[in-house]
Symmetry: C2
Subunit: 458 residues, 2 copies
Amino acid sequence: MRKLILFFIFSLTQFLNAQLAIHQDQINILYKKALQEGYAYNWLDHLSNKIGGRLSGSLNAERAVKWGKEELEALKLDRIFLQKVMVPKWVRGTFEYASIISSPGMSINVPICALGGSISTPSSGLRAGVVEVKTFKELEQLGKDKVKGKFVFFNRPMPAEFINTFEAYSNTVNQRTQGAEKAAKLGAVGVIIRSMNLRLDDFPHTGSMNYGDLPNKKRIPAAAISTNGAQLLSSMLSLNKNLKFYLKLDCKNFPDVQSFNVVGEIIGNIHPNEIILVGGHLDSWDLGDGSHDNGAGIVQSMEVLRLFKEMNYKPKRTIRVVMYMNEENGLRGGLAYAKYAKQSIENHIFALESDAGGFSPRGFSFEANESQFKKIKSWKKYFQPFMLDRFELGGSGADIGPLQDNKVVLSGLLTDSQRYFDFHHASNDTFDAINKRELELGAAAMASLVYLVDQYGF
Amino acid sequence: MRKLILFFIFSLTQFLNAQLAIHQDQINILYKKALQEGYAYNWLDHLSNKIGGRLSGSLNAERAVKWGKEELEALKLDRIFLQKVMVPKWVRGTFEYASIISSPGMSINVPICALGGSISTPSSGLRAGVVEVKTFKELEQLGKDKVKGKFVFFNRPMPAEFINTFEAYSNTVNQRTQGAEKAAKLGAVGVIIRSMNLRLDDFPHTGSMNYGDLPNKKRIPAAAISTNGAQLLSSMLSLNKNLKFYLKLDCKNFPDVQSFNVVGEIIGNIHPNEIILVGGHLDSWDLGDGSHDNGAGIVQSMEVLRLFKEMNYKPKRTIRVVMYMNEENGLRGGLAYAKYAKQSIENHIFALESDAGGFSPRGFSFEANESQFKKIKSWKKYFQPFMLDRFELGGSGADIGPLQDNKVVLSGLLTDSQRYFDFHHASNDTFDAINKRELELGAAAMASLVYLVDQYGF
C-alpha cells in the first residue's frame, strides 16, 4: 500500500512537472513567433500610415472597421461579425488658431487645439482677458466678478513625481474634462487647458470634455494649449495681467452616426460557451494617427488570435477579439458590447485590454477576487523569462469595464508608461513612435496570458 | 523580567520601523528632486549638443574632460582630480564609402562605416568578390581556396528571440570583434560585418575590432554595413555569386595619446576610507553624440552626488564619481583606475556603473557573494514604489570590472533594453533619443541604492 501511495505521489509530481514544461514550451513558442515573424508591426503600419487618425464617426473610422473585418477574415477565424453602435460625431473643422496679445499690435501665436466635444468660437474668433488657475477651488475663490467675460486658463501641470504616469494623468485630467463647465457657470467666455503632457514641448493634446448639465446657450469653447505655450502664457500673465487672448475654433458637433465594433473568434472545442476576450479600441483622436492610442492595442489583440491559428492551437474555450469603437469620446462601443453580452447571456470568464501604448510590457493589472488572483499569481513563473514582473490588482481598461459583473476577471496590459503622455492625443502619436520589439513583446505577453486562462479557466 | 524582554523587543521593533520609514523618506526625496528639479537632462544636453561625439584621443574627448571637471567643481565636492590615462587614437578620416557592383557599370551604394581600429583601404579603394557566412565555422569550412582575394561578409543577425537584447548582442558580436582576424588568416582582402542592430534600417553601427596576433602587413580593412544593406547584399548574392563589392575607408591608427579619468568625491564623515563608486564612461563613438552610450551614465552618476549635496546629506562613507575614459576601444580608463586603487590601497566597498542607455530603469545586477546579496535583496522593498523589480546576480559594467577582487560589490543599472541597439554606436545615438523622465528615474534609482549602501555598508 505504501509503495502504491508513493508511486501515486511520484506520478502526480511527474504529471505536474510535465504540465509545467508543456506550458512553458507553448509560451516560448508564442514569444518566438511574435518576435521572429509577427504581424503586429506590419498591421499597425497599415492602420497608421494607410488609414491614419480615425475619430468616431469619420470616414477613416469606417475604413478602419472595414480593414479590421477583412484582416480577421484573412485569418480564417470561426466567426466574424460587426456589432452596430451609434457614435457621436464631432469634427474639428478646417482652422484653429490662438495668440497672446500683450498690447495692441503685439501678438504671439501659441499652439492650441480644440478639445473633443467643444463648440466653436464665433467665426471672427474670441478675444478676451485671461485669469489663470490651477484648481477648481482657486476658480471658485475668484468668483463670478473676476471670471466673467474672461478666458479661464487651467494651468495645473501633470505632477512629475508620480512614477506611474497614469496616476499623474488622473490627478490633472479633470481640468480638461470639467474645466469648461465649471468656468462657464462663472461667466467665462472660453477655457484654455494646459495639455496633459509631462514634457515641455509644442504639441497641444486634445481629449474629451463635456459640458455636464449646461444648456446649449451657456456652453463655451474649450482648447488645449501646448505645455510650452502654457508656460509662456503664464509668464506673460505674471508681467501683464491685462493681456488678451485670441482664440478661433471651427469645430462642430453633429448628430450621432452609425458605426461598429468588429468581433471575431476561434470557437472553443471543449467549453465553447466560455468566452475569453482580448481587445482594444479601433477609434483614435484625429491629430496623429493613433499608433499608441490605440492602434497598438488593436494589432496586439489581432496577433493573439493569429498566433494561435499559426501554431494550430485548438483552444478549449472561445477566444474572441473585439475592436471597440468610440472609446475616446463616448465609450459607446464598450457599453454596446456589454449590453449585447448580457442580452445574449454569454459567459465571459476573462477580458484583457491593451490600451496603455505599444511600449515595453511590464505586467498585467487585474480586477479579480482573492481566489481568482491567487490562481493568476501562480502563473507568474511562466512570465519570468520574459521580464514581466508586475502582476497587480487594479483597473483594467475602459472598453472592457462595462463587462464587470463580479464574476468575470478583467485585465489590462501594463506597459512602461514614461513616454506615453509625450504622445497621448497629440499629432506626434504616429507610427515612428512605435518600437517594433516593444509592440511584439506586448502581443506575446497577451497571448501567453490568454493561453493560460484557456488552459485553466476560472 | 518577561516585561523587560517584551519592552526590549517592542523598542527594537519600533526602532527598526522608524529606520525603515526614514530610509523610505530619504529615497522619496531623492526621487522627487531628480524628477522635479533634476540636472541630468540639461547636463546631457550640453555634453551631447555642445560637445558631441567624443572618441578617445579626440579634441572632443578632451573638451568633455574639461567640462566634467568644471561641473564637478561647480558642485563644490570635497576633492576633484584628473587621473592620467594613455589612450588609443583612431581616426575615421574624411571619407568612407561602399557599393555593390552587380555587373560592370551597374552599382548601388550601401551605408557602411569603418569599425574602430580598422586600417584603411588603399586610397583607390578595394574591389573584390564576396563570400557570405554566418559563423566562424562556416568560414573555416569555406577554407582558403574560396576566401582568398575576397571580402568575407559576416551576416549573422542578432537573434530576435532573446528578451534581454544584451544577450542577443553577446551572441553575435564576435563577428565584429574577431571577424577581420579570422578572415585575414584565410586570405580575405576585407570584411563586411552586419551591424549589431535588431531593427532593419539604414544606420551602420561601428564598434571596436582587433586583429589579434596578426602582423601589420596581414591586416585587412573592416567595415560595418547597415542591416538593410546586409539584407540587400545577401539577396543580391543569392542571385549573382559573382557580384563585386567596392569599399573605401580612410581611417587611421595613431600612437597613443594622453587623456584622463575625471574623479570627484564627497568624503565620508564616519568611514572616509570606505569608498562607494558610481560612474560611467565619458568617451563615446564618433558617429552620433553618444547620448545613450554613455552620456546618460555620466550625467546620472554626476546627479547622484549633486542630489546628496542638494539634500545636504552627509554620507558616512566616501561617495566618489568616476567618469572613465576609453571604455569603447581599449578600457584603458577602467584598467588605470583599478591599478591606481590597488596601488593606493583604497578600500572600495561598492561600485555602480550605468552603461545600458538612458532608458527606463528596471533594476540592478550585482556581482556579490551570498551574504552580500542577501543584504541587498533586503533593500528591494524600498524600490517597489518606484517600479524597480529586478535585483539579480550578473555582470555589472566594463569600466568597474577591473576592480573585482572578490570583496567589493559591483553593480550595473539594468534598463529596459529593447531600444538600446537601435542606437548603439550609430549616428542616431543622439540627444533626441533620450527621454527626460527615463534618464532621471535611472539617476534617482542609482542615488537610492548608493544611499542604502552608505547607510549599511557591507
